[in-house]
């Protein structure tokens, strides 16, 4: 697999002027503001290959947006290298932006006062998309993102979900090889979220587009991402698959057993002793067996069936949620 996005040892520092408090402080700042250097990114590396969706996650202020800005070419890295389709985004910005499509969930790249179709026409002209290609791509995007009823509406009158769909179409008109999605599902309802996820999944699978996705919605990550990069305080602290992340954190799996009639305490103790795991009582007729993420469930299921016998009514197995895993990871990093 060829890496379309390669970020190596990316560092970006900002000059920040801490403000003093109150009116007197503000006046003193006017005269004698001192600036302090703050590192937003201190050596981040990551790659995204063709057809791959990489989730870029981290707490607020971790450096996600700064990374995306460096990859889009709108921010000059302090040091380190960024290569997208072999180009330096900063130095070769006008060639580079033809290779990328960007959606900022929190702002629109369309023109506020223009009707959607006017804005898309204009973008097609700006990106020099040949008219026949433009027509066929717009037709396809219209279908997939359900844009038909929106085309004549001024952008300012769109709802958030409608706007993000239009922004997705806008980002893809020129058929970019790399798509950067900065919190694309922020504030969207479940139905729109699902639609957008399906669309992004297809984009990578069918068109071989490399997708870098930042989000706080771990549902996005779980349903889309082949790989995740976790960033915290300007440094990448984990890179790998979601399963690898789960395993590394020793997340917990849970087997819930429901029986017909109450489960005697002695049976619970017997199970716990036999398996060397924690057995909790959820209800008189329901117990929860918690065990390590790396452990196979079958011996535990077998033991439960053997001890509780024919009274077992139902079994269900729950994987650790990605929310728990990431929360545990942040906590581990901070301690």
């Amino acid at each position: 697999m060829t890496a379309l996005v390669e970020v190596t040892d990316l560092v970006r520092t900002f000059q920040v002027r801490p403000r003093r408090r109150g009116v007197v402080g503000a006046l003193r700042d006017l005269v004698s503001g001192r600036s302090v250097e703050v590192a937003a990114l201190s050596g981040v590396s990551l790659t995204v290959g063709a057809g791959e969706i990489v989730g870029y996650i981290g707490p607020n202020g971790a450096g996600k947006s700064t990374t995306i800005k460096c990859v889009t070419g709108i921010l000059k890295p302090t040091s380190g290298t960024v290569r997208v389709c072999g180009l330096d985004p900063w130095k070769e910005r006008s060639a580079h932006v033809r290779n990328i499509g960007v959606v900022f969930g929190q702002r629109t790249q369309l023109w506020w006062d223009l009707a959607v179709v006017e804005a898309l026409d204009l973008l097609a002209a700006v990106f020099e998309v040949p008219p026949d290609l433009y027509r066929s791509r717009l037709g396809a995007l219209q279908e997939l993102l359900d844009l038909q009823p929106l085309l004549r509406t001024p952008v300012r009158e769109l709802s958030l979900g409608q706007r993000v769909r239009c922004d997705l179409a806008a980002a893809l008109l020129h058929a970019p090889r790399v798509v950067l999605l900065d919190e694309p599902t922020i504030g969207l309802d479940v139905a729109v979220k699902h639609k957008i996820r399906a669309f992004v999944r297809d984009l990578a699978a069918r068109d071989g587009v490399a997708v870098l996705l930042t989000t706080h919605d771990l549902g996005d990550v779980e349903s889309l991402c082949h790989r995740v990069v976790l960033v915290d305080r300007g440094a990448a602290v984990f890179e790998g698959t979601l399963d690898a992340l789960r395993a590394r954190l020793g997340g917990r799996r849970r087997l819930v057993v429901t029986t017909r009639g109450p489960i005697p305490a002695v049976a619970r103790d017997q199970l716990a002793a036999r398996l060397g795991v924690v057995v909790g009582e959820l209800a008189p007729d329901r117990v929860e067996i918690t065990f390590a993420a790396g452990q196979s469930a079958s011996p535990i299921v077998a033991a439960a069936l053997e001890v509780l016998g024919a009274t077992v009514d139902d079994l269900s197995l729950a994987e650790p949620s990605i929310e728990e895993v990431v929360a545990a990871f942040y906590a581990e990093q901070r301690s």
């Binding site: 900002f14 947006s65 800005k69 889009t72 070419g73 709108i74 921010l75 000059k76 910005r93 006008s94 060639a95 932006v97 033809r98 990328i100 960007v102 900022f104 929190q106 702002r107 629109t108 790249q109 023109w111 006062d113 223009l114 006017e118 026409d121 204009l122 973008l123 002209a125 700006v126 990106f127 020099e128 001024p154 919190e183």
Partner: protein
Amino acid sequence: MMRAQVWWACVRLGALHRFAYRMEVLSAVVSAAVVVFLNASVWNAVVDGRPGLAGLSPVEVSTYAVIAWIATIVSATRLDEILGARVRDGQIATDLIKPLDLHLWLILRDLGRAGASAALTAAPVLVLAASVFPFVWPSRVGSWLWVALSMVLATLIGGQLAFLIGLVAFRLKNVSGLAHFKASATAVLSGAVVPVQAMPDALRDVVVWLPFQGMSHTPAMLFLEQLDGAGVTRALGVQAAWVVGLFLACRWSWARAIDHLTVQGG
């Protein structure tokens, strides 16, 4: 550099923005009419009962007062505030992810804006003012051509001055103070408030070297047919020189400003 098709799309965008709000179109006409009428009334009062002013007859002073303000309406732009606002709220990011030359893009957009202003605001106010105040129309068709060319140059001067001021936002994050200063300086130094001829000698000697007079004094003089053949060439040449000079200044500043850009907001 961009292709002609994109240039046109961009000019069109500037005009489309101007048509977006019906009330805004209407209020632009009303406020322009009020200012033009005020200015023309004041200057008509000044020359009332006098033979003229600084080489202009009373009717020419009246015409100058109308044309000079109307020219400013077309050539003066809020591009600096628009660019400043885009930097301040980080929206500039969405401009930079397009394969656009932001300088040309904004200047061409402003040309579209000016074209729409000329048609929607300047033309009706001009007809209205001409029917109310003493007014002379150009006697030759050729003069209209020079006026039109001069207005394009005036708009390019105004747009690029504003672009330069907007670039300051890349460093300072806020340009509204500077933009206000530019707006007042333009009104005074362009001849819109006081005809350049009527300025004190010391001030006039400075003003003729500044770009501002190209934004309204020059079109007004061409409209009044105050310049002979060589004078026309010289006046347009000075405007064109400012367009080129400001163009180079914009290129140079843009290349430096972009290094200092920190796109704000998440």
